[in-house]
Symmetry: C2
Subunit: 212 residues, 2 copies
Protein backbone atom coordinates (compact mmCIF):
# COMPACT_ATOMS: atom_id res chain seq x y z
CA UNK A 1 0.00 0.00 0.00
CA UNK A 2 2.91 2.33 0.72
CA UNK A 3 3.68 2.58 -2.99
CA UNK A 4 0.31 4.12 -3.66
CA UNK A 5 1.29 7.16 -1.65
CA UNK A 6 3.77 8.16 -4.35
CA UNK A 7 7.23 7.60 -5.70
CA UNK A 8 10.04 6.45 -3.44
CA UNK A 9 12.34 9.16 -2.04
CA UNK A 10 15.79 9.70 -3.46
CA UNK A 11 15.25 8.36 -6.94
CA UNK A 12 15.80 10.25 -10.18
CA UNK A 13 12.12 9.70 -10.87
CA UNK A 14 11.13 11.67 -7.79
CA UNK A 15 13.41 14.55 -8.69
CA UNK A 16 12.14 14.61 -12.27
CA UNK A 17 8.51 14.43 -11.14
CA UNK A 18 9.03 17.39 -8.81
CA UNK A 19 10.80 19.37 -11.56
CA UNK A 20 7.99 18.68 -14.02
CA UNK A 21 5.29 19.64 -11.52
CA UNK A 22 7.20 22.77 -10.51
CA UNK A 23 7.71 23.83 -14.14
CA UNK A 24 3.96 23.52 -14.73
CA UNK A 25 3.07 25.33 -11.53
CA UNK A 26 5.48 28.24 -12.02
CA UNK A 27 4.39 28.71 -15.64
CA UNK A 28 0.67 28.65 -14.87
CA UNK A 29 0.41 30.26 -11.44
CA UNK A 30 3.57 32.33 -11.30
CA UNK A 31 6.34 31.96 -8.76
CA UNK A 32 4.57 33.54 -5.80
CA UNK A 33 1.31 31.61 -6.08
CA UNK A 34 2.85 28.22 -6.82
CA UNK A 35 3.23 26.61 -3.39
CA UNK A 36 5.62 23.82 -2.47
CA UNK A 37 2.61 21.95 -1.06
CA UNK A 38 0.75 22.11 -4.39
CA UNK A 39 3.87 21.17 -6.36
CA UNK A 40 4.45 18.19 -4.07
CA UNK A 41 0.82 17.11 -4.47
CA UNK A 42 1.02 17.33 -8.24
CA UNK A 43 4.20 15.23 -8.16
CA UNK A 44 2.57 12.78 -5.70
CA UNK A 45 5.35 13.20 -3.13
CA UNK A 46 5.61 14.52 0.40
CA UNK A 47 6.50 18.27 0.60
CA UNK A 48 9.51 17.31 2.74
CA UNK A 49 10.96 15.54 -0.29
CA UNK A 50 10.85 18.77 -2.29
CA UNK A 51 13.01 20.43 0.39
CA UNK A 52 15.20 17.33 0.58
CA UNK A 53 15.98 17.51 -3.14
CA UNK A 54 16.04 21.27 -3.73
CA UNK A 55 16.50 22.99 -0.38
CA UNK A 56 14.16 25.93 -1.03
CA UNK A 57 11.63 27.31 -3.48
CA UNK A 58 14.30 29.69 -4.78
CA UNK A 59 16.63 26.79 -5.52
CA UNK A 60 13.77 24.80 -7.03
CA UNK A 61 13.07 27.44 -9.66
CA UNK A 62 16.77 27.62 -10.53
CA UNK A 63 16.68 23.85 -11.09
CA UNK A 64 13.57 24.28 -13.29
CA UNK A 65 15.48 26.93 -15.27
CA UNK A 66 18.38 24.48 -15.46
CA UNK A 67 20.76 27.03 -13.99
CA UNK A 68 23.04 25.07 -11.67
CA UNK A 69 23.94 27.81 -9.22
CA UNK A 70 23.72 27.65 -5.46
CA UNK A 71 22.64 31.00 -4.05
CA UNK A 72 23.91 30.24 -0.54
CA UNK A 73 27.37 29.28 -1.78
CA UNK A 74 27.56 32.35 -4.01
CA UNK A 75 26.39 34.64 -1.23
CA UNK A 76 29.07 33.27 1.09
CA UNK A 77 31.77 33.76 -1.56
CA UNK A 78 30.76 37.38 -1.99
CA UNK A 79 30.54 38.08 1.75
CA UNK A 80 33.94 36.47 2.34
CA UNK A 81 35.53 39.22 0.24
CA UNK A 82 37.00 42.26 2.01
CA UNK A 83 34.17 44.74 2.59
CA UNK A 84 35.54 47.21 0.03
CA UNK A 85 35.44 44.51 -2.66
CA UNK A 86 31.94 43.15 -2.10
CA UNK A 87 30.58 45.21 -5.01
CA UNK A 88 33.29 43.99 -7.36
CA UNK A 89 32.75 40.37 -6.29
CA UNK A 90 29.04 40.69 -6.89
CA UNK A 91 29.62 41.88 -10.47
CA UNK A 92 32.10 39.06 -11.03
CA UNK A 93 29.69 36.38 -9.82
CA UNK A 94 26.92 37.71 -12.07
CA UNK A 95 29.22 37.85 -15.12
CA UNK A 96 30.43 34.31 -14.36
CA UNK A 97 26.83 33.05 -14.34
CA UNK A 98 26.02 34.89 -17.58
CA UNK A 99 29.14 33.47 -19.26
CA UNK A 100 28.49 29.90 -18.03
CA UNK A 101 26.89 27.44 -20.47
CA UNK A 102 23.57 27.56 -18.59
CA UNK A 103 23.61 31.35 -18.43
CA UNK A 104 24.45 31.61 -22.11
CA UNK A 105 21.50 29.36 -22.95
CA UNK A 106 19.06 31.36 -20.83
CA UNK A 107 20.27 34.66 -22.31
CA UNK A 108 20.10 33.32 -25.88
CA UNK A 109 16.48 32.35 -25.24
CA UNK A 110 15.74 35.85 -23.94
CA UNK A 111 17.46 37.44 -26.92
CA UNK A 112 15.43 35.38 -29.36
CA UNK A 113 12.32 37.24 -28.24
CA UNK A 114 10.47 33.90 -28.20
CA UNK A 115 9.78 34.11 -24.51
CA UNK A 116 6.68 34.94 -22.64
CA UNK A 117 6.86 37.45 -19.84
CA UNK A 118 7.35 34.82 -17.17
CA UNK A 119 10.45 33.51 -18.85
CA UNK A 120 11.81 36.94 -19.58
CA UNK A 121 11.78 37.87 -15.91
CA UNK A 122 13.38 34.70 -14.66
CA UNK A 123 17.09 35.49 -14.60
CA UNK A 124 16.63 38.83 -12.92
CA UNK A 125 14.01 37.73 -10.47
CA UNK A 126 15.34 34.36 -9.51
CA UNK A 127 19.10 34.78 -9.63
CA UNK A 128 20.12 38.43 -9.35
CA UNK A 129 17.47 39.60 -6.93
CA UNK A 130 17.62 36.76 -4.37
CA UNK A 131 21.42 36.87 -4.53
CA UNK A 132 21.52 40.60 -3.85
CA UNK A 133 18.96 40.29 -1.05
CA UNK A 134 21.11 37.62 0.61
CA UNK A 135 24.25 39.72 0.26
CA UNK A 136 22.47 42.73 1.74
CA UNK A 137 21.23 40.62 4.64
CA UNK A 138 24.85 39.65 5.33
CA UNK A 139 26.08 43.25 5.36
CA UNK A 140 25.44 45.56 8.27
CA UNK A 141 22.98 47.83 6.54
CA UNK A 142 20.06 49.43 8.33
CA UNK A 143 17.09 47.15 7.71
CA UNK A 144 14.84 50.01 6.62
CA UNK A 145 17.37 50.93 3.91
CA UNK A 146 17.86 47.42 2.55
CA UNK A 147 15.22 47.33 -0.13
CA UNK A 148 15.98 50.75 -1.63
CA UNK A 149 19.71 49.96 -1.74
CA UNK A 150 18.99 46.52 -3.19
CA UNK A 151 16.82 48.14 -5.87
CA UNK A 152 19.69 50.40 -6.92
CA UNK A 153 22.12 47.48 -7.05
CA UNK A 154 19.63 45.37 -9.00
CA UNK A 155 19.02 48.17 -11.51
CA UNK A 156 22.75 48.57 -12.17
CA UNK A 157 23.32 44.83 -12.61
CA UNK A 158 20.20 44.34 -14.71
CA UNK A 159 21.25 47.19 -17.01
CA UNK A 160 24.74 45.75 -17.42
CA UNK A 161 23.33 42.33 -18.33
CA UNK A 162 20.85 43.85 -20.79
CA UNK A 163 23.37 45.93 -22.70
CA UNK A 164 26.14 43.30 -22.67
CA UNK A 165 24.17 40.12 -23.31
CA UNK A 166 20.75 41.08 -24.69
CA UNK A 167 21.30 44.22 -26.76
CA UNK A 168 25.00 43.36 -27.22
CA UNK A 169 26.02 47.02 -27.36
CA UNK A 170 29.70 47.70 -27.87
CA UNK A 171 32.09 48.23 -26.19
CA UNK A 172 30.33 46.63 -23.21
CA UNK A 173 29.46 43.45 -25.13
CA UNK A 174 33.12 42.61 -25.84
CA UNK A 175 34.77 44.28 -22.85
CA UNK A 176 36.95 42.13 -20.61
CA UNK A 177 35.10 41.21 -17.39
CA UNK A 178 37.82 42.97 -15.36
CA UNK A 179 37.06 46.26 -17.06
CA UNK A 180 33.36 45.97 -16.33
CA UNK A 181 34.10 44.97 -12.75
CA UNK A 182 36.35 48.04 -12.39
CA UNK A 183 33.58 50.18 -13.88
CA UNK A 184 30.57 48.87 -11.97
CA UNK A 185 32.06 47.46 -8.75
CA UNK A 186 32.65 50.84 -7.06
CA UNK A 187 29.10 51.92 -7.92
CA UNK A 188 27.66 48.84 -6.23
CA UNK A 189 29.90 49.43 -3.22
CA UNK A 190 28.55 52.98 -3.08
CA UNK A 191 24.95 51.77 -3.24
CA UNK A 192 25.55 49.05 -0.67
CA UNK A 193 27.39 51.03 1.98
CA UNK A 194 27.70 54.81 1.47
CA UNK A 195 25.48 57.52 2.84
CA UNK A 196 23.11 58.45 0.05
CA UNK A 197 21.99 62.04 0.57
CA UNK A 198 18.55 62.77 -0.80
CA UNK A 199 17.70 59.07 -0.82
CA UNK A 200 17.57 58.43 2.91
CA UNK A 201 16.70 61.09 5.43
CA UNK A 202 19.29 61.57 8.18
CA UNK A 203 18.32 59.68 11.35
CA UNK A 204 15.83 61.59 13.46
CA UNK A 205 14.65 63.90 10.72
CA UNK A 206 11.45 62.00 10.14
CA UNK A 207 9.34 64.70 11.84
CA UNK A 208 6.38 65.79 9.81
CA UNK A 209 4.68 69.13 10.00
CA UNK A 210 1.03 68.78 10.98
CA UNK A 211 -1.29 69.35 8.01
CA UNK A 212 -2.72 72.84 7.53
CA UNK B 1 1.51 65.46 -64.72
CA UNK B 2 3.19 66.78 -61.56
CA UNK B 3 0.69 64.92 -59.41
CA UNK B 4 1.93 61.58 -60.71
CA UNK B 5 5.32 62.16 -59.07
CA UNK B 6 3.73 61.78 -55.65
CA UNK B 7 1.81 63.54 -52.94
CA UNK B 8 2.12 67.28 -52.46
CA UNK B 9 4.58 68.47 -49.80
CA UNK B 10 3.35 69.76 -46.47
CA UNK B 11 0.09 67.89 -46.29
CA UNK B 12 -1.00 65.49 -43.55
CA UNK B 13 -1.20 62.83 -46.25
CA UNK B 14 2.51 63.16 -46.98
CA UNK B 15 3.44 62.89 -43.34
CA UNK B 16 1.21 59.87 -42.85
CA UNK B 17 2.53 58.18 -45.98
CA UNK B 18 6.11 58.64 -44.78
CA UNK B 19 5.22 57.33 -41.32
CA UNK B 20 3.52 54.26 -42.76
CA UNK B 21 6.44 53.51 -45.10
CA UNK B 22 8.95 54.05 -42.31
CA UNK B 23 7.04 51.76 -39.93
CA UNK B 24 7.08 49.01 -42.56
CA UNK B 25 10.75 49.54 -43.37
CA UNK B 26 11.95 49.61 -39.74
CA UNK B 27 9.93 46.51 -38.86
CA UNK B 28 11.11 44.50 -41.84
CA UNK B 29 14.67 45.66 -42.41
CA UNK B 30 15.60 46.99 -38.99
CA UNK B 31 16.65 50.53 -38.21
CA UNK B 32 20.14 50.42 -39.66
CA UNK B 33 19.23 48.90 -43.02
CA UNK B 34 16.08 50.95 -43.61
CA UNK B 35 17.33 53.97 -45.60
CA UNK B 36 15.63 57.34 -45.88
CA UNK B 37 15.89 56.97 -49.66
CA UNK B 38 13.99 53.66 -49.63
CA UNK B 39 11.39 54.99 -47.20
CA UNK B 40 10.85 58.05 -49.40
CA UNK B 41 10.50 55.84 -52.49
CA UNK B 42 7.94 53.60 -50.74
CA UNK B 43 5.98 56.70 -49.73
CA UNK B 44 6.32 58.15 -53.26
CA UNK B 45 7.92 61.35 -52.03
CA UNK B 46 11.27 63.07 -52.41
CA UNK B 47 13.79 62.18 -49.65
CA UNK B 48 14.10 65.89 -48.89
CA UNK B 49 10.50 65.84 -47.74
CA UNK B 50 11.34 63.18 -45.16
CA UNK B 51 13.94 65.51 -43.69
CA UNK B 52 11.55 68.44 -44.00
CA UNK B 53 8.92 66.65 -41.90
CA UNK B 54 11.08 64.72 -39.44
CA UNK B 55 14.53 66.28 -39.38
CA UNK B 56 16.52 63.04 -39.08
CA UNK B 57 16.22 59.28 -39.17
CA UNK B 58 16.42 59.27 -35.36
CA UNK B 59 13.50 61.67 -35.11
CA UNK B 60 11.61 59.69 -37.77
CA UNK B 61 11.67 56.50 -35.72
CA UNK B 62 10.49 58.39 -32.64
CA UNK B 63 7.53 59.63 -34.70
CA UNK B 64 6.86 56.04 -35.83
CA UNK B 65 6.91 54.99 -32.17
CA UNK B 66 4.57 57.91 -31.45
CA UNK B 67 6.91 59.30 -28.80
CA UNK B 68 6.82 63.07 -29.25
CA UNK B 69 10.25 63.95 -27.90
CA UNK B 70 12.84 66.13 -29.58
CA UNK B 71 16.31 64.75 -28.90
CA UNK B 72 18.06 68.02 -29.78
CA UNK B 73 15.89 70.04 -27.42
CA UNK B 74 16.34 67.51 -24.60
CA UNK B 75 20.10 67.37 -25.14
CA UNK B 76 20.33 71.14 -24.92
CA UNK B 77 18.29 71.21 -21.71
CA UNK B 78 20.61 68.68 -20.12
CA UNK B 79 23.77 70.44 -21.28
CA UNK B 80 22.48 73.79 -20.02
CA UNK B 81 22.56 72.40 -16.47
CA UNK B 82 25.59 73.12 -14.28
CA UNK B 83 28.21 70.48 -15.04
CA UNK B 84 27.79 68.79 -11.64
CA UNK B 85 24.08 68.31 -12.31
CA UNK B 86 24.21 66.88 -15.81
CA UNK B 87 23.79 63.33 -14.48
CA UNK B 88 20.79 64.30 -12.39
CA UNK B 89 19.21 66.15 -15.31
CA UNK B 90 19.70 63.15 -17.55
CA UNK B 91 17.83 60.90 -15.08
CA UNK B 92 15.06 63.47 -14.76
CA UNK B 93 14.56 63.73 -18.53
CA UNK B 94 14.37 59.93 -18.88
CA UNK B 95 11.88 59.62 -16.01
CA UNK B 96 9.80 62.44 -17.52
CA UNK B 97 9.62 60.57 -20.82
CA UNK B 98 8.70 57.29 -19.10
CA UNK B 99 5.97 59.03 -17.09
CA UNK B 100 4.54 60.87 -20.11
CA UNK B 101 1.44 59.42 -21.80
CA UNK B 102 3.48 58.24 -24.79
CA UNK B 103 6.15 56.68 -22.58
CA UNK B 104 3.54 54.98 -20.44
CA UNK B 105 1.99 53.47 -23.57
CA UNK B 106 5.32 52.20 -24.91
CA UNK B 107 6.26 50.70 -21.53
CA UNK B 108 2.84 49.06 -21.11
CA UNK B 109 3.34 47.41 -24.50
CA UNK B 110 6.75 46.15 -23.43
CA UNK B 111 5.39 44.85 -20.14
CA UNK B 112 2.63 42.93 -21.89
CA UNK B 113 5.27 40.71 -23.44
CA UNK B 114 3.37 40.91 -26.73
CA UNK B 115 6.24 42.57 -28.51
CA UNK B 116 8.72 41.18 -30.90
CA UNK B 117 12.37 41.86 -30.34
CA UNK B 118 12.43 44.92 -32.57
CA UNK B 119 9.77 46.63 -30.50
CA UNK B 120 11.34 45.65 -27.22
CA UNK B 121 14.58 47.35 -28.12
CA UNK B 122 13.00 50.57 -29.33
CA UNK B 123 12.89 52.76 -26.23
CA UNK B 124 16.45 51.99 -25.24
CA UNK B 125 17.91 52.16 -28.69
CA UNK B 126 16.06 55.12 -30.07
CA UNK B 127 15.58 57.39 -27.10
CA UNK B 128 18.06 56.66 -24.31
CA UNK B 129 21.06 55.78 -26.42
CA UNK B 130 20.91 58.63 -28.95
CA UNK B 131 20.19 61.07 -26.13
CA UNK B 132 23.17 59.91 -24.10
CA UNK B 133 25.43 59.98 -27.16
CA UNK B 134 24.41 63.58 -27.82
CA UNK B 135 24.99 64.58 -24.23
CA UNK B 136 28.42 62.93 -24.28
CA UNK B 137 29.27 64.75 -27.49
CA UNK B 138 28.44 68.01 -25.75
CA UNK B 139 30.68 67.29 -22.76
CA UNK B 140 34.43 67.58 -22.95
CA UNK B 141 35.21 63.89 -22.69
CA UNK B 142 38.12 62.28 -24.51
CA UNK B 143 36.70 60.89 -27.73
CA UNK B 144 38.27 57.47 -27.22
CA UNK B 145 36.48 57.18 -23.86
CA UNK B 146 33.05 58.24 -25.06
CA UNK B 147 31.58 54.90 -26.00
CA UNK B 148 32.69 53.03 -22.87
CA UNK B 149 31.37 55.83 -20.64
CA UNK B 150 28.15 55.99 -22.64
CA UNK B 151 27.74 52.23 -22.22
CA UNK B 152 27.99 52.56 -18.45
CA UNK B 153 25.47 55.41 -18.40
CA UNK B 154 23.12 53.48 -20.68
CA UNK B 155 23.33 50.36 -18.50
CA UNK B 156 22.43 52.31 -15.38
CA UNK B 157 19.49 54.06 -17.01
CA UNK B 158 18.24 50.93 -18.74
CA UNK B 159 18.33 49.03 -15.44
CA UNK B 160 16.42 51.77 -13.66
CA UNK B 161 13.72 51.77 -16.33
CA UNK B 162 13.45 47.98 -16.28
CA UNK B 163 13.03 47.65 -12.53
CA UNK B 164 10.76 50.68 -12.12
CA UNK B 165 8.53 50.36 -15.17
CA UNK B 166 8.83 46.81 -16.51
CA UNK B 167 9.36 44.57 -13.48
CA UNK B 168 7.77 47.19 -11.18
CA UNK B 169 9.94 46.20 -8.23
CA UNK B 170 9.38 48.08 -5.02
CA UNK B 171 10.46 50.44 -3.63
CA UNK B 172 11.83 51.73 -6.97
CA UNK B 173 8.47 51.40 -8.74
CA UNK B 174 6.72 53.81 -6.37
CA UNK B 175 9.68 55.98 -5.33
CA UNK B 176 9.40 59.72 -5.91
CA UNK B 177 11.41 60.78 -8.97
CA UNK B 178 13.53 63.07 -6.76
CA UNK B 179 14.71 60.09 -4.72
CA UNK B 180 15.72 58.16 -7.80
CA UNK B 181 17.46 61.22 -9.20
CA UNK B 182 19.36 61.61 -5.91
CA UNK B 183 20.28 57.93 -6.07
CA UNK B 184 21.32 57.60 -9.72
CA UNK B 185 22.36 61.14 -10.68
CA UNK B 186 25.74 61.05 -8.90
CA UNK B 187 26.53 57.67 -10.48
CA UNK B 188 25.92 59.06 -13.96
CA UNK B 189 28.04 62.10 -13.12
CA UNK B 190 30.80 59.71 -12.04
CA UNK B 191 30.54 57.71 -15.26
CA UNK B 192 30.42 60.82 -17.42
CA UNK B 193 33.29 62.78 -15.95
CA UNK B 194 35.43 61.05 -13.29
CA UNK B 195 38.67 59.16 -13.77
CA UNK B 196 37.74 55.51 -13.86
CA UNK B 197 40.76 53.49 -12.73
CA UNK B 198 40.93 50.04 -14.22
CA UNK B 199 38.57 51.06 -17.00
CA UNK B 200 40.81 53.47 -18.87
CA UNK B 201 44.56 53.21 -18.82
CA UNK B 202 46.34 56.38 -17.70
CA UNK B 203 47.56 58.39 -20.72
CA UNK B 204 50.89 57.17 -22.07
CA UNK B 205 50.72 53.74 -20.46
CA UNK B 206 49.78 52.00 -23.68
CA UNK B 207 53.22 50.41 -24.05
CA UNK B 208 53.15 46.70 -24.60
CA UNK B 209 55.91 44.31 -23.81
CA UNK B 210 57.10 42.51 -26.93
CA UNK B 211 55.87 38.92 -27.05
CA UNK B 212 58.20 36.22 -25.74
Amino acid sequence: MARRRGRRPGTTDTRDAILAAAGEAFAHKGYDRATIRAIAAAAAVDPALVYHHFGSKEQLILAVMNVPVDLDVMTQEILNAPRAEVGAHLVRVILDICDSPAGTAVLAQLRSGMNNEWNAQQPGEFIAIPLIRRVMAGLEVGREQTSMRAGMVIAEIMGLVVIRYILKLEPSASAAPDKLIAAIGPTLHHYLTDDLPGVFEPAGSGRRLPPG
